[in-house]
């Protein structure tokens, strides 16, 4: 059994133990029931007794039946409870860990796959913990109980039963080993199916624009067909192992029946014990048969668990750090000290040897050609990534030493591609500060030049903006994201092309707001447009991951051909 899965049982140990205990009791009730039944039939059939004579036995039989039914109920409920508890805990852990892993991890994964692991993958553990695990124990205990009981009734048959029993698990394991790989593949096909569907659904408009959306149904068919084939393959194995099992059990029962028949003929055994053995023979095999069914479901859970633990065992990209438990100040001077960073599979470092000061109360603009590493630098500041060399210091202390959530509280970000969440405008802005009053939200929106259009929306701030802001125009969505950062009121402001989708007028408005806000704060603004960078206190020029120049607009214009090229803007040409 998988060790890591086994460890998850801990919180639900009692439930699992109880499930097994109830299963054992249930088996005892079954033995009692069958004994009474065989006794009744035998007395009437062989002893020619009438109803009145067997009345007492019939009531005992009734009692056994009722107790057994109650135990069946209890076992199911308890087993499920244990499994549900494990699942709930595990899902919460998985989500927390995904958050800890952050965007660096998720952008390398398939969202659909992650979601299917967290929802369906964990559901599949149900069978593993609730059924398979207790069944493993029961399939040992119950046959043993019946064997011990039957030895006293008729040792020949008992030995016959017990002799055939080990064949079953051995065969099952032989077939099962083979199927495990296929189950793994089937799970993979399912999570790929999810990933494919999510990506397709989210890109449906794009597909449509390219006239590919109808043709895509062929791919849907292909992906669906692959999933079906994998599933059928797995099931065929499962059914084959079921067949082997059934076959063995049937043969064994038939053997026992014929053996009993022959011995009855010879008078070696009387009817009652023979009938009892016949009744208990299926019960003897039942736990093993159930193990067969649950084993398949259990293996499905195990296959999914592989992916669950893979996520859980991925180390977070940034260390937690609690070297400085004390609060950092509300004024931040940031210093990057020969920072180097490479993406795991990048051929060249995205940043190398970058040393840059961001003094408190100043605005630094970061410019450079597309792909130069600007956003990477922003991600380092937010600690979504950790430098492979060099340090980032806040007021002289390496930020890696701080608890990461604590550090992020001090940074407000407008990402290059902001994500708006499904919900209202208000909720989206308030993400930055859940406690903010509507007035504060409105003020932030005003600063971002968003208040005007938000008021014109059908329900103002309470308008649903759809998934990823689908019901807003590009520039409107961007301003909501800016308002969010303004509301946060943090000492370090990181803005990654905050006005890329804005018209000149809105851009000016936002720029002025940033200028006002950046007083007493530390601001880093990444931009391509001259009008945004030119008023910054300092401008840093990045090229292919190297910091080439730092200076004011005028200085750079003189010194740096790269900068001159960058700002040799068409605006300039046409003047």
């Amino acid at each position: 059994m998988d060790r890591e899965l086994f460890r998850q049982i801990k919180p639900a140990r009692i439930f699992l133990a109880l499930t097994v205990a109830l299963g054992v009791l249930g088996a005892a009730a079954t033995i009692a029931q069958m004994t009474f039944l065989s006794e009744v039939v035998s007395r009437v059939f062989m002893g020619d007794e009438n109803l009145g004579r067997v009345e007492g036995l019939i009531f005992l039989l009734l009692a056994a039946i009722v107790v057994r039914a109650a135990l069946v109920w209890a076992r199911e409920v308890v087993g499920q409870r244990g499994a549900i508890q494990i699942k709930t805990k595990l899902r919460e852990r998985l989500f927390s860990h995904l958050m800890r892993l952050g965007p660096t991890y998720t952008k390398n994964e398939r969202t659909g796959e992650l979601v299917s692991t967290a929802v369906e993958g964990i559901e599949r553990l149900d069978a593993y913990f609730g059924r398979y695990m207790p069944q493993v124990l029961l399939s040992l205990l119950v046959p043993l109980m019946i064997f011990v009981y039957l030895v006293q009734v008729d040792w020949i048959s008992a030995l016959l039963l017990v002799g055939s029993a080990p064949v079953i698990p051995i065969l099952m394991i032989a077939v099962g080993k083979h199927s495990e790989r296929h189950i793994q593949r089937q799970w993979l096909a399912l999570s790929r199916l999810s990933a494919y569907f999510l990506d397709t659904l989210q890109g449906l408009t794009t597909l449509k624009a390219f006239g590919r959306s109808r043709a895509e149904s062929e791919t849907v068919a292909k992906v669906g067909e692959r999933f079906r084939k994998r599933t059928m393959k797995v099931l065929r194995y499962a059914f084959a192992s079921g067949l082997v099992l059934e076959f063995m059990v049937s043969i064994a029962i038939a053997l026992v029946a014929v053996e009993l028949g022959v011995r009855l003929l010879r008078g070696d055994i009387s009817f009652q014990p023979a009938f009892l053995i016949l009744l208990l023979a299926p019960e003897f095999y039942r736990p093993l048969r159930e193990l067969g069914t649950h084993r398949h479901a259990g293996m499905e859970g195990k296959a999914a668990s592989g992916q669950i633990f893979e996520i859980l065992n991925t180390p977070a990209p940034v260390s937690g750090g609690d070297a400085y438990p004390r609060e950092i100040q509300n004024q931040l001077t940031i210093r990057l000290d020969s920072v180097r960073f490479s993406y795991p599979d990048g051929s060249r470092p995205a940043l190398s040897g970058v040393s840059l000061d961001l003094p408190v109360g100043t605005t630094t603009a970061l410019v450079g050609r597309s792909g130069a590493g600007k956003s990477t630098l922003a991600n380092l500041l937010l600690r979504f990534l950790e430098p492979s060399e060099g340090d980032i210091l806040a007021n002289g202390l390496p930020i890696m030493g701080l608890p990461v959530e604590n550090w992020r509280e001090h940074v407000a970000l407008v990402p290059q591609r902001p994500h708006l969440f499904y919900g209202t405008v208000l909720e989206n802005i308030r993400l930055a500060r859940p406690g903010a009053t509507p007035e504060e939200v409105q003020r932030a929106a005003e600063l971002a030049g968003a208040d005007g259009f938000i008021r014109r929306l059908p329900e103002g701030y309470d308008t649903q903006i759809g998934e990823r802001g689908a019901r807003l125009s590009g520039g409107e969505a961007q301003r909501v994201a800016i308002a969010r950062a303004f509301l946060k009121d943090a000492p370090l402001l990181v803005l990654d092309e905050p006005t890329s989708s804005l018209d000149p007028k809105s851009e000016r408005l936002v720029r002025q707001a940033i200028e006002r806000l950046s007083k007493g704060r530390t601001t880093l603004i990444i931009a391509h447009r001259l009008n945004t960078v030119y008023s910054a206190d300092r401008i840093a020029v990045l090229e292919d991951g190297h910091l080439r120049e730092v200076g004011t607009h005028e200085e750079l214009l003189e010194r740096s051909t790269l900068y001159a090229g960058l700002v040799n803007a068409p605006e300039r040409v046409t003047t």
Binding site: L37, M46, N108, V115, L235, A254, R456, H553
Partner: protein, 578 residues
């Protein structure tokens, strides 16, 4: 019930396989009952010590059923699962084909995580209907009649009592369980969908959640759904236990009651004692066909709401439809908006208000204006993602509604403001525009979009993986990928919605150069807030709050000192100051 019938309608695709599955199901149950009951008869008969030869038929039959049970069950499972999974695959294709015409206008209300859940989990849920309801009901019906017949041979009274129990277990328990579980089942489906939706939103927005310290609040929200789901599951477990236990109880009680009734008959000599054990096991065995119904109906509510969720989407009316007899699209069409008025559903204001303009075939028109003025909406109407409320959009002199959507879009190359980059390789993303493009054409498009440098620097070139939503490449690189796609498509009409928004000025200039080259003789609509290279446009439209407020060439508009002049000055004021 209607939903159920509609689901069964999908079986029409594989009627023979479905029938075979039922037949094999019957064979399985018959073998099972036969094995158990005949074994009992065998030992009872043997106890009377007859000649061995008298037992040879029962012995033979016991062996036969012992073998046939396993094989029948195996075949039944393979066939029924095969049919079911074929159906599920068909359902997914069907769902996609119903969903596709709805995008994007009708899908805005939906979370993609929720739609994902429908396409994957809800379809999966329907296994239950096909595997556990349809065929098992028929098998159960057969078993009940057969059992009734067997008992009838011995005594009508016993037959009716057996029938009573079987009906109680086969109809009563399912109905009871369904009544108890229906709400919980629906809840489970809804909670699971909600969980998926929240997870998709959280995973894709993780950067923003973390940056704003909102991950804790989000975690709480997900825990809340998770806990609700656990509660529903615990309730379901109670029902499941009840169902299992009721079936167990009923089958044993049936056996007990029949025994009690049969004993006097045996004593009275109406039934030979040798059959007593046989009868007890016939009834126990026949319950094997009945018990699955309980669990099937326990999940019926869940399956039906899953089906309901699929039909809900599938039954939505698309906003735009293809005409009966689509007209052929001309080779080099112009584009015209004639008095177009449009507002998005459930939005108070008009996104476009009486907009008229014409782009003659091969000419270039730019649209500028404040954010939210309706620029992107123009492109969406031209592509027929929505239809206008008033007026018409004409392509090559005909209303776009007269063309088949695919033919229309074939003729249009688009760089959208928020293009989706698929989680695949660069190549796959490019080929989307033209699946049959050659390597040479791909390279040319990449070069023209100024992506050559990136492709060279990537270890696997065009086969490098761009990550979820293309997030493994930089913003400007994504933008250029979108442009490369449009260039590759090589369509006679081009709609460019801020094609250089995320680019530095050098790259922008280079890219505009490529675009200029490409648009030489194409009908072009350039949407932008960057007043750059406007001299080359044949006409510039200035849009404000959905209306065209100014129009003319660059020089004309500068002279008229209206909104365009203002925008232009704003853009340049910093330079003047510098």
């Amino acid at each position: 019930m209607r939903v159920l019938l509609r689901l069964l309608g999908f079986l029409g695709a594989h009627p023979w396989r479905a029938a075979l599955a039922v037949l094999l199901g019957v064979a399985t149950v018959a073998s099972n009952v036969g094995l158990l009951a005949l074994s009992a008869f065998l030992i009872a008969a043997a106890a009377l010590k007859p000649e061995l030869a008298a037992l040879s038929v029962p012995i033979y039959l016991v062996r036969f059923f012992g073998v046939s049970r396993g094989f029948a069950r195996y075949a039944e499972r393979v066939v029924s699962h095969d049919v079911t999974f074929r159906l599920l695959r068909n359902l997914r294709i069907w769902f996609y084909e119903r969903l596709e015409p709805l995008a994007p206008s009708r899908l805005l209300e939906h979370h993609s995580g929720d739609l994902l859940d429908r396409a994957v989990e809800d379809v999966d849920e329907l296994q239950n209907v096909y595997l556990r309801i349809f065929s098992p009901i028929l098998v159960a019906a057969f078993t009940v009649s057969a059992t009734f017949a067997v008992f009838w041979v011995f005594s009508p009274l016993l037959a009716f009592v057996a029938l009573g129990f079987l009906v109680a277990a086969g109809v009563g328990v399912p109905l009871l369980v369904d009544a108890l579980a229906r709400r919980t089942g629906r809840q489970q489906v809804e909670l699971r969908a909600e969980l998926s939706a929240q997870l998709v939103d959280s995973v894709q927005g993780v950067q923003d959640l973390l940056a704003f310290g909102a991950e804790k609040e989000r975690r709480d929200r997900i825990s809340e759904i998770n806990r609700k789901l656990a509660r529903a599951q615990r309730r379901m477990a109670l029902i499941e236990g009840l169902q299992g236990s009721l079936n167990d109880l009923l089958s044993n009680l049936a056996m007990l009651v029949l025994l009690v009734l049969a004993i006097p008959l045996v004593s009275g000599g109406e039934i030979r004692g040798v059959y007593l054990a046989f009868l007890a096991l016939v009834i126990l065995g026949s319950f094997e066909a009945i018990t699955p119904l309980g669990s099937a109906f326990q999940f019926l509510g869940r399956s039906l709401s899953a089906a309901g969720r699929l039909f809900e989407i599938a039954d939505e009316e698309p906003q735009v439809r293809d005409p009966q007899n689509p007209a052929p699209v001309p080779e080099r069409p112009g584009l015209e908006f004639r008095r177009v008025t449009f507002s998005y559903s459930n939005s108070g204001s008009k996104a476009l208000d009486d907009v008229s303009f014409e782009i003659k075939a091969g000419s270039r028109v730019a649209v500028v204006g404040p954010s939210g003025s309706g620029k992107s909406t123009l492109a969406r109407l031209a592509l027929r993602f929505w239809d206008p409320d008033g007026g018409e959009v004409l392509l090559g002199g005909r209303d776009v509604r007269e063309y088949a959507q695919e033919d229309l879009r074939e003729k249009i190359g688009l760089v959208a403001q928020d293009t989706h980059i698929f989680n695949g390789t660069l190549r796959r993303n490019l080929l989307l525009a033209r699946p049959e493009a050659t390597q040479r054409e791909l390279e040319r498009a990449v070069e023209a979009a100024r992506l050559g440098g990136l492709v060279e620097s990537l270890p696997e070139g065009l086969d490098s993986w761009v990550g979820e939503q293309g997030l493994r490449i930089s913003g400007g690189e994504r933008q250029r990928l979108a442009v490369a796609r449009a260039l590759l498509k090589n369509a006679p009409i081009l709609l460019l919605d801020e094609p250089t928004a995320n680019l530095d000025t050098v790259t922008e200039q280079e890219l505009l150069g490529s675009i200029r080259e490409m648009v030489q003789d194409r009908t072009t609509l350039l949407i932008t807030h960057r007043l750059v290279g406007m001299e080359g446009m044949d006409e510039i439209l200035v849009l404000d709050k959905g209306r065209i407020v100014e129009r003319g060439t660059h020089a004309e508009l500068l002279r008229s000192s209206g909104l365009y002049r203002q925008m232009y000055d704003t853009q340049r004021e910093m330079l003047a100051a510098a």
